[in-house]
C-alpha cells in the first residue's frame, strides 16, 4: 500500500530533536491538562481515554511545533481571505414566518409553555 508522503513529518522516530520535542510536549500535555481542556470543552473522558488523548494531543502538538521554525516577523495574521470590508445589514425588523418559527421551536428537546427548559441554573 502506497504510503510515501513528500512532506517531511517529524512526528517521532528518526529525528532526535523531534523526539525531544515530543517528549517535552508529552510532559506539557499531562492528564491534568487533558481533564482541564475536556472540562472547558464540556466533554467527559473515561480515565482510560485521558491517557490515550494525552498521547495523541502531544503528537499533534509536536507536529505543530514545526511552525516555530518559521520566520513570521513580517507576516500579519490572516483572519479572513476575502478582503471584504464593512459589510452591513440595514436595521429593518423582519418577522420570521410563524410556520418556520414553529419548525424551529419544534427542534428544541425540552420546550414547555413557550420556554426552552433546562435544569435549574443557580
Amino acid at each position: 500500500m502506497v504510503e510515501r508522503c513528500p512532506v517531511k513529518a517529524d512526528v517521532a522516530g528518526s529525528n532526535p530533536a523531534a523526539r525531544a520535542k515530543l517528549k517535552s510536549n508529552c510532559m506539557l500535555i499531562d492528564k491534568d491538562l487533558v481533564k482541564k481542556v475536556a472540562d472547558l470543552s464540556k466533554v467527559t473522558l473515561e480515565d482510560s481515554e485521558v491517557e490515550h488523548f494525552a498521547k495523541e494531543m502531544a503528537e499533534v502538538l509536536s507536529y505543530a511545533d514545526q511552525l516555530s521554525e518559521v520566520d513570521v516577523t513580517d507576516a500579519a495574521p490572516t483572519d479572513q481571505v476575502t478582503g471584504l470590508l464593512s459589510v452591513f445589514r440595514e436595521d429593518l425588523a423582519i418577522d420570521y414566518p410563524a410556520d418556520k418559527r414553529a419548525k424551529l421551536l419544534n427542534t428544541v428537546p425540552k420546550f414547555e409553555n413557550g420556554y426552552v427548559v433546562v435544569p435549574k441554573v443557580i
Partner: protein, 478 residues
Amino acid sequence: MSLSFLSIEELHTGLKARTFTCRELITDCLECIKEKDGEIHAFLSVYPEQALKLADAVDKKIQASEKIGLLEGIPFSVKDVILVEDMRATGGSKMLEPFIAPYDATVIKRLKEVGAIVIGKTNCDAYGFGSSTENSDFGVTKNPHDLSKVAGGSSGGSAASVAAGMCVFSLGEDTGGSIRQPSAFCGIYGLKVSYGRVSRYGSIAYASSFDSIGPMARSTRDVAIVLSVIAGKDSMDHTSIPGLVPDYIAELKATELKSKRIGIPKEYFSGLDATMTKIINNALDTFKKEGYEIVEISLPHTKYAIAAYYLLVTSEASSNLARLDGVRFGYQAPDPTSIEDLYKRSRSHGFGPEVKRRVMLGSFALSSGYIDAYYKRAQKVRTLIREDFRKAFETVDLIITPTSPFPAFTIGEKVNDPMTMYLADVFTVGFSLAGLPTINVPCGTMEHLPVGMQITAPYLDETSVLQAASVFEQAHHK
C-alpha cells in the same frame, strides 16, 4: 444503463424530447440506491416519495408543453452537513441523529428554485472531521470501485453516490480537501470554490474561514452548470463575495483559453510515488499538446501547511461546535441532574473520538498562554502560504498537483492513527489556506483505483480552472 449516468444536458434534452420521463429518471436513481447502497452506504437518508412527487410535477409541465429549465427534474444528493428543510441533517454525528432541518440552506434554495430534486442526504465524517468517512457515526462509505477501500472524506457519501450513478450530481463541502479527495478516490469531478464564492448559510460550520460548498459531478460541464446556480452573493452570509458571477457555461465554450501557463510546485513532487508521478506527468503531456506551457515553481512554505491548517481548523471548529450543547436542538441526554451534566453527557454521547479530539485541540490552541504560540502563529503562517501562491501566480496562471499522495486506502488502515490521517491531506490543505478555487480532475488509475489531479487558479478565477479541466477532459476522451 441507468438514466442517472447521463449528463445534465443529455437528461435535459431527453426529458424535453420525451425520450423518457422524469419519474423514470428518479426511479432509476432509487433502483440504483436500492441495489447498491446496502453495500456502499453512501446515503444516510433517502426521500423517495418527495422526489417522485416532484418528478411527476415536472412531467406534467413537459406534457403541457411548458418550458423546463436546464436543471429542472435533475436529481442530486446533498452532504448531510447541508440543511434541507424537513429532511434529516445529522452532519454524520450522533449529536444530530434526531435532528430535522427547520430551514433550507441558501444553496438548496437556489437549486430548488431551478427545479432540481433532492434525492437524499449523504454520509460524511462527522462535521467534516476526516478524510475517509470512517469518522461518521453511522458507518463508513465504501468506494464503488473497490468495496474494500474508503470512498474518501469527508464528502465520501456524496462522491460515492455520484460515482455509483445513484444521482446526477452532489453538493459537497470542502474545508481542507473534503470535496477534492473523495472525488479523486471515486474518479469524479469535484470543485472546491474560492472561499466566499458560494454562500455558507445553512451548512453546519466546521471552520468558518475555510468552509466552501461546491458541486461534485461526472463532468466539467455538469460542475459548471451547478456552480452557475449556487454561486453569488447571499445577504444571509456576509463573507460571500458581491459582484456579478461569470457565465461559467459560456466560458467553457470559449475558443481562446484564458490561461496558458501551468506551474508545477516542486515541493509536491519530491518523494512522490513513482506511479503517481507518471500519471501526473502524462496528464501534463496532454496539457502540453493542447498548447499549455509547463513551468516548475516553488511554494516554499508547503511543509508547514498541515500544521497551520490543523491548528486553525480545530480552533474554529471547537468554537463552532459549542452550540451543539443539547439545549436547543439535537440529542439531549435523558434526566440531566444539572446544566453541567446536560452539557457533558449530551456532548460525550453525541461526539465520537475524532470530534472530541479536535474540539479539545482547538480549545487548547486558543487558550490563554498558548494562543500566541499556536493559533496566532498559524494565522501568520497562513499569510506566508497565501503569499507563496500570490508570488507563484505572477509567473503562472494555473497550478497542478496530485490531489492525494495515494489512491483510496483500505478501510481501517489509517483510522487509528490520527496523525497519519491528517498527513493524507498534505496536497489539498495549501489551497484551502489560501481560499483558492481548486478542482479535482480524474486523470488515471493506480492499482485499478482512480487517481485525480488538482487544478488551481488565482482567487475567484473559477473560469480558468473549469476551462483547463474541460480541455483535459475532452482531450482525454479523444
